[in-house]
Structure formats: C-alpha cells, structure tokens
Symmetry: C2
Subunit: 333 residues, 2 copies
Amino acid sequence: MVAAMLSSALPTFADVEAAARRLAGHAVLTPLLESPLLNDRLGGRLLVKAEVLQRTGSFKFRGAFNRISLIPEAERPRGVVAFSSGNHAQGVAAAARFLGIPATIVMPSDAPAIKVANTREWGARVVLYDRWKEDREAIGAGISAETGATLVRPYDDPYIMAGQGTIGLELADQAGVIGARLDAVLAPCGGGGMISGIALAIAARCPGTRVYAVEPAGFDDTTRSLAAGERLSNAAGASSFCDALLAPMPGELTFAVNSTHLAGGVAVTDAEVATAMAVARDHFKLVVEPGGAVALAAVMSGKISIAGKTMAVVCSGGNVDPEVYAQALAGAR
Amino acid sequence: MVAAMLSSALPTFADVEAAARRLAGHAVLTPLLESPLLNDRLGGRLLVKAEVLQRTGSFKFRGAFNRISLIPEAERPRGVVAFSSGNHAQGVAAAARFLGIPATIVMPSDAPAIKVANTREWGARVVLYDRWKEDREAIGAGISAETGATLVRPYDDPYIMAGQGTIGLELADQAGVIGARLDAVLAPCGGGGMISGIALAIAARCPGTRVYAVEPAGFDDTTRSLAAGERLSNAAGASSFCDALLAPMPGELTFAVNSTHLAGGVAVTDAEVATAMAVARDHFKLVVEPGGAVALAAVMSGKISIAGKTMAVVCSGGNVDPEVYAQALAGAR
C-alpha cells in the first residue's frame, strides 16, 4: 500500500548487506564499547557503538560511499552535489575524493565551523545558504540541473539508508560475539536515514529487539509522526544545539521504513544531551557532538529505562566546535 | 651480561605472545585510527593506537590482568596490593575484580580524583600516601608482608611488561592489514613497562621499525639513561601535568630491555601535550589524558619528524579530571 505511493523503491535488508560488501575496507568497523562501572550504576548493560571513530567523524560516510560508488562511470566526471548541515557534507566530500569524483556541497551558513572547514579540506566546493530563508533542496537541485552532477540526498535515498544500516549489521555481529542479547537499539534521528537502515538490519538479524529513534526536543517530528501514523512537521521557532538533527520532517522513504519497523521515538533536552556528552567523555573516552549524543541521553536520563536490560546506543558523530564542546561540558550536571 | 645482574628474568617475545592468549576475550582489541586530513597536513601517515578505549581507560589493564591471572589458586584469597598514581591502580582493581581477588591500592593523595574514585568503584581498598614524603614501594611492601598479598608492580615485572607488549603485537597486525609499513612506533614512557613490551613485539614482528620512548620534559630519565647507557634519575623539583609519567627513574628490567631495543627517547613540554590533546579531540574524537598524549605530542611538535614516513603513536590513557581536561584544551594552541 505505502510502497505504491513512493517516488522510489524502499531498501531491503539485502541492500544493507550489499552496502556492507561495498564498504568493506573503506569504512571503519567501529568498536562496540562497554563500561562495567557504568553498567553497575545503571543496573543494566549499555553498549556504545562508537561511530564517532568513523571516517570523517560521523556515520554519514557509510551512506555517502555506498551511494556514490553506484554512480555509473560515464556520469562520474560531472560530479556530485549534496546539501547538509555538516556531517553528510563531510561524508560526501570524503567518499567523492576516495572515488575520484568532484563534489559541491550546499551548507547552512551557521553550520559548525569545523564541519565547513573539514568539508573544504576534503576537496569539496562549499556553497553557503541561509538556513531560515533559503531552500537547500532547491539550491541543490539547481546545481544538479546546471552541471549534471548527481544529487546525493542526506537521507531519503534507498542507498543512503542501506549504507547507514551497516551500523546495525555490525552491531548485531558485535553483540553476538560478546554474548549480548539486545533488548533495544537506540539511534539519533534527523531525517531518519540512519535509524531506518539500522531498523532493517536489526529486524533481520535480531528479531524481537526494539529499535527507537531519539530526537532533540522541539525537533521530534519522527516521534510524533510514528504516534500519528503520518508524516508531521516540526513547529517553527524551536532551537537546539543538536545541529545535525534539525530536519523539518521525516523523509518519505525513511518514514515508510520507520513506521513499519520502529518501536517508537523519544525526545531529549539539550541539558540531557550535555550530560550524555560528559558521560561519553568520562566512561568511554569519546568526543561526541550534541546530535551524536541524543541516544545515550535517552538512556542516561531514564527516558528509556535500561534497568535489567541490555541496550545498544549509537554515538553517531563527533564533529563539534571546540567552544561548543567546552561550553556543553562546563554546563553538564 | 646484563641479565646476570638482574633480580628477575627478562621477558621475551614468547611472553608477549602468551600474554595475548591470556588477554583474548578480556582486554579490548583497541582500534588503530587514521585521519587522512591530518596525514595531508603532516605530509606523512600517522596511525593512532586508541588505547584510551581499553578497559579502565588505559593500557594498564593488560599488564595487570596478565600478571594477576598467573597467581596460583592457593595464594589468591590473600589478595593483591599495588602502588600507582592511578591508571595501574584501576587496571589492577579491575583485573582483580574480574578474577575474584581482593585488591588494596596505594595511591598518592594528589592523584586525579577520577582515578581514585574509579579505583574504589572497582571494589579496591585505597590507601593514600604523600607523593613527596613517603615511599610508595615501602608502603606496598609493608602491606604485602602483613597480609601475604601478592605485590603487583607497575612496570618492573616481566609479566606486566609482556602484558603491555600486547599493544605492539596488535599494532603490528593492524598495520599489516592496512598495508602500512611502520618506520617508527612511539609510546609514552614512565617507568618503561609499556614501551619495553611494545619494543619486544615490534622487534619480533616489524624488524627495522624504530621504537621511541616519549617522556614529559623534566621527567626524561629514560631518554637520558638511554643516551648515557646507565640508569639515571630525574632531578628533584620538576613538575608536569602528565601525572601518569612521573616515575623517578627507569626500572631495572624495563631499562635492560629498552637499552637493547629502543632507538632513543624524546621529551615534550606540557604545552606540546595540550596541543596533542586538542588534536586527539578534533581529528580522532578521543579523550586523551596528558600522560597518554605525549607520543602524539612528539609527532605534532615535529620533535620526531613524520614527513614522508609512516608512524604509529600509542594514546595510552584517557583518565583525566574534567577540570584539567577543560583547562588543557582551553590553553591549547
């Protein structure tokens, strides 16, 4: 029913497995970490998928590399174009460089400086736009029409979703090795690409494991959409320092997968995120950016109770400006 | 010649291999990370062994677990005792807990609060002493004599050295997988346990690779001892925020190995270490404590030139008080 209305085919678990084969030797197989002392305090078993250690400092490299590697040889010289608040930008820029393809990235002018600088350093051309006044999709589409560059969407693309889903595949394998039976998997959710891919992998590999989307308060469009059974937008005027998770509404393809596979969603405050960033620093020795820490925040805040359970959270990115990082940690309780 | 004068047998590469078998499934096989953007800037290939992700947040768990697992069943109820500024304390406490053995740890009263708190949380009894007035070896030996507890030395013990050496074994394997031929390996050096074990592994697995000890300025006893061909002490009165690396002079066993196997040593300033901590945060998303960052500092400062070369550095620990961490990063240039 839903699939018939979609503009593109939905990815399947086979697409996630194919993505894993393409990514082998290119993406980092990020470790699954655990702190026995923190487990003691929580009264449960918490596993952290350290995706901040991924190439370019976030999970976005996975989807970008999977998508770009499928561009036919003849179309590659015309390049790729992408719009992104930063992590997808770096993922696309790095994947394009590894594959020898020119990249243009449309970024909001208020994106973290470290994300803009790194995108340029990967060799991409950066075009800045005003997040509140201009339409990044229109700008990206315009560049694509002018130059013939392939548009690499941040989440609403079956191959992007499948690429991000390799996180779930690794997670299932790694949990198996240490004998952990996962009650739940939690991952950050902006447009819903990563969580949808993970949900496909977990449904196939760990049936019975519940998968939750975690969002910043005020940007809980997926949480509300799941409850309503239809795609809802975020109200205007909200703000959050989780710059990676400010998509206005769930994607078409991502929501089709998520509405079938997710157990639900939960929203966390910036204060809860700051605490999670401090926990990541102290217990896992990881630098996690605000948007990358929301799933850990959902557990640490008790919004998803881990007592007596085994749960995995994805810490999805670590590209945070030093000043923002220092301020968040200084304010963490 | 040297061996005849020693109070205990020197470890060999076979001891490192045996330690690796004992640690399998207990220690974390820490990842070897790389940043292509940083490589571009350095004009060389830098590999980072992320030992901050080790159980207890530092490499010390390896040696402690290897040593303690060799205590005969009949002696285990009498427990273990160790003296340490913090990372060895946590390593011993955690290894003892996993093996079901009571632990007493003698720690300096000015050790980082996070290290003291974690050591207690691992279930160990902590005895504090004054770093500048009391002799920790005497206190440890006294407790051992009273209780019959096995003294687990921080570095001058062949099984501790062999346990830490498993870092070198993993490093050689991981470099091989990515096709990296190592020109040099750099690791932090306090008493010299870790660097000696690594040197044994690298000599066996990567002959021709140079191994360097890196120390804080003012505590460069191993660097000077290597140059002099005999064990020299540090002058009194020096200070450094690298609390993990303040041993007064090279160990007897460690120096016997290091004087044979190391290419040399180098000292770095606290300012250079702070810069390296910021590089670890920005490029590798790792929280590295001062003493854990000295090897990275040797490369970033140019004191060991990486231009045109491939080098691995061990980031050996991440147990830093939040205030010290924030101050170091705020002052980093």
